[in-house]
């Protein structure tokens, strides 16, 4: 599926604005305005409630670790809220069990969409996810700038061969003039960035769920909230390295590649099919690995269960351009069109 169609199906119209949208469960809202009104009302009601919960240590996207921590600091929530990260999958898991956990995580930053299994698991607990798109990002494949000068682009089929360890020498990779082994880097299995990467490139054996990269022994895997920087530093300094991260992994010494999605017919790439990431190609999704960044929260399907302060304050902060826009910019994320002045 073309990434544009993917977003259109899953994002339910939130690509060009920042209104939250329900994901899974019965859709009972009458329209976007109603959703916003209901959410604002909820936030207003809860905003003044004293925090009676234990200290909140949130799990979620490592890509969004610096963003979320900066948001916590900007909102003055540092005494009540900390962000552990760990990967989008862990934040989603925590939200699914929000009704029974203490403390309860009801807001989860994620660099990928919740999937159908997670939606069903939440529904079994009488919960549904509400999606707020906090900004846009791109998964970028990067190589050493000086060490791989001839390589400027890559088709998904070649990326698949590299990360599945079928192409282990640069001489096998079209466009590269290197002839030595490939040092392959990846984020771990809980990472939303990894989920975006492998689900769109396709063909990966993702069992067992928590350690499936072991099926591909050439891959060096990083787990933790510093991995975007760690992988970026490695490709910036090792001539034969290749890795993927969000945009903050790009730095002096490495360089991202133009990408072509040849997974779907016609399964070939001509020159115009290779697209570099840019604000425009991320917003119009012509860049094959453009993605949305999410601040999900869970709410009750049959009752008023939802985020409490300070988590509701975090959610409100992500929706406030005055607070969020400088943080998006500092993290090199792309604001949704019309969100930032």
């Amino acid at each position: 599926m073309h990434v544009g169609a993917y977003f259109a199906r899953r994002a339910r119209g939130s690509w060009s604005n920042s209104a939250p949208s329900v994901v899974g469960g019965p859709i009972t809202f009458k329209g976007e305005g109603m959703k916003i009104t209901r959410l604002i009302a909820l936030l207003c009601l809860l905003g003044g409630v004293a925090n009676a919960q234990p200290h909140n240590n949130l799990q979620g996207s490592d890509t969004l670790a610096f963003y979320t921590r900066a948001l916590i600091n900007a909102l003055g929530l540092g005494g009540q809220l900390t962000y552990a990260g760990g990967g989008s999958a862990l934040g989603i898991r925590a939200a699914i069990t929000a009704r029974t956990d203490d403390p309860s995580q009801r807001v989860n930053p994620s660099s990928r969409f919740v999937n159908d299994t997670e939606i069903a698991q939440a529904a079994a607990n009488d919960l549904r996810f509400v999606d707020y798109v906090l900004g846009l990002d791109a998964v970028v494949i990067h190589v050493n700038n000086a060490g791989n000068p001839a390589l400027t682009r890559m088709a998904f089929s070649d990326a698949r061969q590299i990360w599945q360890c079928n192409e282990t020498n640069w001489s096998q990779v079209p466009g590269s003039d290197r002839t030595d082994s490939i040092l392959v880097l990846a984020r771990d299995e809980f990472s939303g960035t990894t989920d975006n990467f492998v689900s769109r490139i396709g063909g990966f054996n993702q069992t067992p769920p928590d350690s499936w990269w072991n099926n591909y022994p050439c891959v060096n895997v990083c787990r933790g909230d510093g991995c975007t920087q760690i992988i970026g530093v490695t490709t910036a300094n090792i001539a034969n390295a290749v890795g993927y991260t969000g945009l903050p992994g790009l730095m002096s010494g490495n360089r991202d590649l133009a990408l072509c999605n040849d997974t779907n017919p016609p399964r070939t790439c001509t020159d115009p099919d290779y697209v570099f990431q840019s604000i425009d190609t991320i917003r119009d999704t012509s860049y094959p690995l453009a993605r949305q960044l999410h601040m999900y929260h869970v709410e009750g399907i049959s009752d008023s269960f939802g985020p409490l302060t300070p988590q509701s304050d975090l959610l409100a902060g992500a929706m406030n351009p005055t607070v969020a826009c400088p943080i998006l910019q500092a993290n090199d994320f792309v604001p949704v069109a019309g969100f930032c002045p």
Binding site: G85, N220, R223
Partner: protein, 137 residues
């Protein structure tokens, strides 16, 4: 974070690697710009247990700013030797874990490039830009 240009130095061979009863050897390493000479096992337990996350909590460093901590996987002899040596029951979730055949080299490079990094690594992987920290009992 400030990164310096590409590495040119050769691998340095350790002469003072720590050894443990489990037979593994390890080195606690920081960036050469970090002036920490010695650190106690309690502080290391705090860093790698995830309770000390800022250099301001490491008095010996004279630094401030978030700590970027790295290690190898639980099953690696280096990790086991280190955990035994400082009596660390469990690593913190905030510690970055690298797995794979190039993991020791990756840790060494990242630390050499990042003044706020600290890691536990194979002593043979150290490069110019890394500096070993002694454990002060």
């Amino acid at each position: 974070m400030k990164f310096i240009p590409a590495l040119t130095a050769a691998i340095l061979i350790s002469s003072t690697a720590f050894a443990s009863e489990s037979g593994g050897t390890f080195a606690v390493i920081v960036n050469q710009g970090n002036h920490t000479e010695e650190v106690g096992p309690g502080t290391l337990r705090g860093i790698f247990g995830g309770t000390i996350t800022d250099w301001s909590g490491v008095e010996e460093s004279g630094m401030t700013g978030p700590i970027l901590a790295l290690r190898l996987v639980d099953s690696h002899p280096v990790t086991q030797a280190f955990a035994t040596r400082i009596q660390l029951a469990q690593f913190g979730n905030s510690i970055n874990v690298i797995r794979g055949s190039a993991a020791p080299m990756i840790i060494a490079i990242v630390i050499a490039m990042n003044s706020r990094a600290i890691g536990v690594d194979d002593p043979a992987a150290l490069i110019a830009g890394d500096r070993r920290v002694e454990i002060d009992d």
